[in-house]
């Protein structure tokens, strides 16, 4: 088939006025590309230590390069630096000022309104890439300019149909040198229509349940009673975990239990990131705990930052209800 004109809706369409509303919208959106999103913003405050400390507290970051002036002075840099990913925090207008003038009169405000009017009323930030030309140090004063770099065609996404809007940020310092750039992409999408057929949001997925058998019921009953029980051969006294019906040492089928004091040390551990499996958080610490009584068991750790876990760490059991139905033995670092 011979096409004399590009299809309406394609980027190269320069034909007569169109009746296709999608193409019309696309043309309006494309016109924003290359425009400044808003007036250049100058940071309210120079790069400063108090904001850095608050940010590090919130992020759980303890890098002495950001926090310890003495350490930083002795480091190859010779001084403290700001966390690079704090970049955008320096030029944010602050809640009150943003509430007063949410992008008023700006191109980004306009493009969002155009999308709102076209029914793409929901928004989600999808990704953000930053590139750093130099490290920021206390006293730097940043200024940023933002342009609308790209508006995508209409896309089908898991959230709904929408357009991706990409903004490009350039950050300059007091000497007008570019210190960093950022690409920030958001999806403006049409929320799926709520209807009677739409099921209510599911509760957070619960943790997998243990399989209970005649051989291990005592363990899980013990957990519900706040006891960590270890199976013990009634004939030879050998302890075993995970439990089973027969002693592998003397082959006796008779057994009783020993209540563990619940103390031990981390024999090995992992931090689980991918795939993300709710309800577990990224970085979820799971340990192989060597109990003082001599057996080992797997359990997750609580009350500890992932980066603080180490082999040999002393831990103490506690019994926690992880949801309405399930109580698990979990371990917390013992304070010396």
């Amino acid at each position: 088939m011979l096409r004399l004109l590009p299809e309406p809706g394609s980027i190269a369409y320069f034909g007569p006025p169109m009746s296709d509303p999608k193409a019309e919208l696309m043309a309006r959106l494309r016109a924003f590309e290359g425009k400044a999103s808003s007036e250049p913003q100058t940071a309210r405050f120079p790069v400063n230590v108090p904001m850095i400390e608050h940010w590090c507290d919130a992020m759980g970051d303890r890098n002495p390069a950001y926090l310890d002036a003495e350490w930083a002075a002795a480091s190859p840099r010779g001084q403290m630096i700001a966390p690079p990913t704090m970049l955008q925090a320096w030029v944010m207008p602050g809640l009150r000022r943003w509430r007063d003038r949410p992008g008023a009169g700006s191109a980004v405000g306009s493009i969002l309104r155009v999308l709102d009017e076209a029914g793409f009323t929901s928004v989600v930030a999808t990704n953000c890439e930053q590139e750093y030309q130099r490290e920021l140090v206390p006293g730097d004063v940043l200024r940023t300019s933002v342009t609308i770099e790209h508006v995508s065609d209409e896309k089908q996404t898991a959230l709904g149909t929408g357009h991706f809007v990409t903004q490009h940020y350039s950050f300059r310092d007091q000497s007008d040198e570019v210190v960093a750039t950022m690409r920030f992409r958001m999806l403006k999408f049409r929320p799926p229509e709520a209807s009677a057929a739409t099921p209510a949001p599911k509760p957070a997925r619960p943790r997998p349940r243990p399989g209970i058998t005649h051989d291990n019921r005592f363990f899980w009953d013990g957990v519900r009673a706040g006891k960590l029980l270890i199976q013990r051969c009634a004939a030879c006294g050998r302890l075993r975990h995970p439990p089973g019906p027969m002693c592998p040492g003397c082959r006796s089928l008779e057994w009783d239990t020993l209540e563990s004091a619940g103390r031990g040390e981390v024999y090995s551990y992992v931090l689980h990131y991918h795939p993300q499996i709710p309800p577990f958080e990224p970085g979820h610490p799971v340990a192989l705990v060597a109990l003082d009584e001599g057996t080992r068991l797997v359990a997750d750790l609580v009350g500890v930052e992932p980066e603080e876990v180490h082999v040999g760490m002393r831990v103490q059991v506690e019994f926690n209800a992880v949801d309405d139905e399930l109580i698990l033995p979990q371990f917390r670092p013992l304070t010396p």
């Binding site: 997998p208 349940r209 399989g211 005649h214 291990n216 992992v270 991918h274």
Partner: protein, 393 residues
């Protein structure tokens, strides 16, 4: 203990066949199975009518009865399946060799075909447990409720202790990925053809389950691979030079759990693979020095190091030094996974590694090691497992 075996050099792999390796095959697992088996039979110069035995994994979704019907195989006299995921890989050849030597079957097909990326991803782990009071649901109950859910996580627990005891670093694991991807880069059949990586790439790859990074984990793949086993005698008359099964062995060891044998005094080794190793060396009369190249099961890099120790290529805790200086790469002391391994070529549960072992003995590998007399091929690690030694007739 001295091991004896009636199998040494009595059988041969006479045909290999594979589909393309992809992330979305676009067809049924059954189609992948019959395609790779037909290709393997054609490679051997045999017809479906010659087949009278099949050996597969219990995790295989394609029942041998369906395959037999689809391929127009008149009937089977032997069909057996082995459990424990990729641990079954070399066991299929063991089962086939036993059947042939016992006279139970003449021509046995071993196969693995799966849409493991597009259909059923093992990497997502065990997120739902059967409510039935079975030994298996009890087993997973010691791990899944606590968030230890995936094969990567189960292996990572061993890896951390191994690192702790022997001073092994993430870089030492990375060297396995670098070697595999180097070999995949020159293998047109590999998913990562033309895409070598550096140790820097490994360091920069994200955590999957710390201490395992993305580049410590094998791919997830769609594809099928089959091999054909018959007697050494019959092999002499077939299309390809026979590749003898010098030795084949399976093993599980003391205090064995499916993939979480965390309760042994020492968890830095793989005693089940050690038992495979002792059987292979003793029944073949060979030693590590007699092997020119090896296909070392690489679903996760740390266990490649441990296997090198279990097979005696180096001492306990010394693999971190053995893997340095490109020793595992083509031109090194022990080139491994010359097809790119499961990190580089495809994850077909070790069956593609057996096919590569055959090519190396035939001298037809795309990354051919010179003067190959014997190749070691291993199967899934951390689980009850298997291994074979292949050699020139």
């Amino acid at each position: 203990m001295r091991f004896r075996s009636e199998l040494a050099n009595r059988t041969a792999i006479v045909g290999i066949g594979a589909t393309e390796f992809s992330k979305d095959s676009g067809r049924s697992e059954m189609s992948l199975a019959v395609e790779c088996i037909a290709a393997a039979l054609d490679d051997a110069g045999l017809a479906p009518e010659d087949v009278d035995g099949m050996a597969a994994y219990t995790i295989e979704n394609n029942p041998d009865a369906e395959i037999t019907r689809n391929l127009g195989i008149p009937g089977l006299r032997f069909f057996g399946r082995t459990h424990y995921g990729g641990g079954a890989a070399c066991a299929t050849v063991l089962q086939a060799a036993m059947a042939v030597v016992a006279g139970v079957a003449d021509v046995v097909v071993c196969y693995r075909a799966m849409n493991e990326r597009s259909q059923q991803r093992f990497g997502t782990g065990v997120q739902r447990l059967s409510p039935q009071p079975t030994a298996e649901s009890a087993h997973f109950g010691w791990y899944a409720p606590f968030g230890l859910l995936t094969p990567a996580a189960w292996v990572a627990m061993f890896a951390r202790r191994y690192m702790h005891e022997f001073g092994v670093s993430s870089d030492d694991f990375g060297r396995i990925s670098v070697a595999d991807r180097k070999h995949a880069a020159t293998n047109p059949a590999a998913w990562f053809y033309g895409q070598p990586i550096t140790l820097e790439d490994h360091r920069a790859s994200r955590w999957i389950v710390d201490p395992l990074r993305l580049l410590d984990c094998c791919q997830e793949s769609d594809g099928g691979v089959a091999v054909v086993v018959t007697s050494a005698e019959r092999a002499r008359d077939l299309r390809r030079p026979p590749v003898l099964v010098r030795a084949a062995a399976q093993a599980m060891a003391e205090d064995q759990h499916m993939m979480t044998s965390y309760y042994r005094d020492d968890i830095t080794g793989l005693p089940e693979m050690g038992l495979v190793a002792r059987q292979l060396w003793e029944t073949s009369g060979l030693t590590p020095a007699d092997v020119q190249t090896a296909v070392v099961y690489d679903h996760f890099t740390p266990f490649v190091l441990v296997q090198l120790e279990e097979f005696g290529f180096c001492g306990r805790g010394e693999a971190k030094d053995f893997v340095k200086n490109a020793n595992l790469e083509l031109g090194g002391g022990l080139p491994i996974n010359t097809h790119g391994g499961q990190l580089g070529e495809a994850y077909i549960h070790g069956m593609n590694g057996i096919a590569e072992g055959v090519r190396q003995v035939r001298g037809t590998g795309v990354n051919q090691v010179p003067d190959v007399e014997n190749v070691l091929v291993t199967a899934g690690t951390g689980v009850p497992t298997s291994g074979i030694l292949l050699g020139r007739a």
